[in-house]
């Protein structure tokens, strides 16, 4: 895929989201569904990679860029990730007093809540491709429980999940994962 086009597609995703993973539905729609340059598995792996390395969650677009277009794709992803950050400068200079305007705030709330709903919708195909056995379903459920009830770092959850499927398969070779 053309690097400039990849940048524009990823920029569209980052510009229309207000939190790290909230850009996922647009990335999924554009790169997996429309253009077929990425599979559901690869998109899942990109999320795993950036959850197990330091830095903000939004970094997953760098990983997506690498999967879609190698090193130049990763640079396109990095640019798409950092470009929207400059929008804080006009906000900081001119709009500091207006951010609390009721209608502006209300529109923003609606966008944030809708983006959460879209993220859940994007998790459906990811789940269908990743949760193919009782063990993987259990891992996903335990992950949800750990994240809601404890402050365990996601890195350790991912490492634990990886070790679980690894050891279970050596203990019980019949278990199809």
């Amino acid at each position: 895929m053309n690097t400039a086009l990849l940048y524009l597609v990823l920029l569209k995703a980052t510009l229309t989201s207000f939190a790290g993973l909230a850009s996922l539905p647009v990335v999924h729609e554009e790169l997996v569904v429309q253009r077929h340059v990425l599979s559901d598995e690869k998109l899942n792996e990109a999320v795993v990679i950036t959850r197990s390395t330091p830095g903000p969650v939004g970094l997953y677009v760098v990983s997506v860029g690498y999967f879609a277009g190698g090193v130049s794709g990763a640079i396109a992803g990095w640019l798409a990730m950092i470009t929207p950050a400059f929008l804080i400068l006009p906000l900081l200079r001119f709009a500091a007093g207006r951010a609390e305007h009721p209608r502006a705030r209300s529109a923003l709330h609606a966008v944030v809540v809708a983006s959460a709903g879209l993220l859940l919708a994007a998790a459906v195909p990811l789940g269908l491709s990743a949760l193919t056995s009782p063990v993987t379903v259990l891992i996903a459920l335990v992950t949800v429980g750990l994240m809601l009830l404890t402050k365990v770092d996601t890195l350790w959850i991912i490492v634990g999940a990886a070790l679980t499927t690894l050891t279970l398969s050596s203990v019980t070779p019949l278990l199809s994962l």
């Binding site: 569209k12 939190a19 804080i88 959460a116 991912i158």
Partner: protein, 183 residues
């Protein structure tokens, strides 16, 4: 207030504190607050809080907008660019290296098994992220409005094939026309 930092000390601070934290933006924000406001006294707490609030209104990764805003506040345009580069280049390089090895190892059977488990955990993480994003709105008085808009977006995206960006724009228009009474 402490002295205005040099561009080099600004870069060092952001390389050191914006790239090291696991677990996403809110943990890193706390680390940055401690390093820049409490220890170095480069910014007043109120100024940091204002920049943080505006960063949340900025599209994309909030943490990077926060770093850009703080850099601009301290050293103008050059400070903004240096803070953004210092906060995003090191962790991006780590991601590229890890993604490279991930691709190499994906042929290996043992690595495949481990990746299988890790990817299952990622599905759980994605679901929890939906809740983390929307939780403040469900805990406010406007929970029904949040449930209708969030649930509506989910249903439309799952049932109909409509590009997400149109659903987000529709939500923005709906929010403008249907303002929540300020709480």
């Amino acid at each position: 207030m402490g002295a205005r930092p040099t561009l080099a000390s600004l870069a060092r601070a952001f390389v050191r504190y914006a790239n090291v934290t696991f677990g996403g933006g809110s943990a890193t924000t706390a680390v940055l607050h401690r390093a820049l406001v409490e220890e170095r006294r480069w910014l007043k707490p109120e100024r940091f809080a204002l920049i943080y609030a505006l960063a949340r209104l900025t599209p994309g990764t909030n943490l990077l907008a926060l770093c850009t805003g703080v850099g601009w506040q301290l050293r103008g345009w050059r400070g903004a660019v240096i803070a953004l580069l210092a906060a995003s280049v090191p962790c991006s390089l780590i991601v590229i290296i890890v993604t490279y090895f991930f691709e190499q190892w994906s042929q290996n059977r043992l690595a495949q098994l481990a990746i299988h488990g890790a990817v299952a955990a990622a599905v759980g993480i994605t679901v929890v992220t939906c809740w983390t994003i929307s939780k403040p709105y469900f805990k406010s008085r406007h929970w029904l409005r949040a449930a209708l808009i969030g649930g509506g977006a989910f249903t439309i995206a799952v049932v109909f094939v409509i590009p997400p960006i149109r659903i987000l724009l529709a939500a923005a228009v709906l929010g403008l026309l249907w303002p929540a009474r300020s709480s």
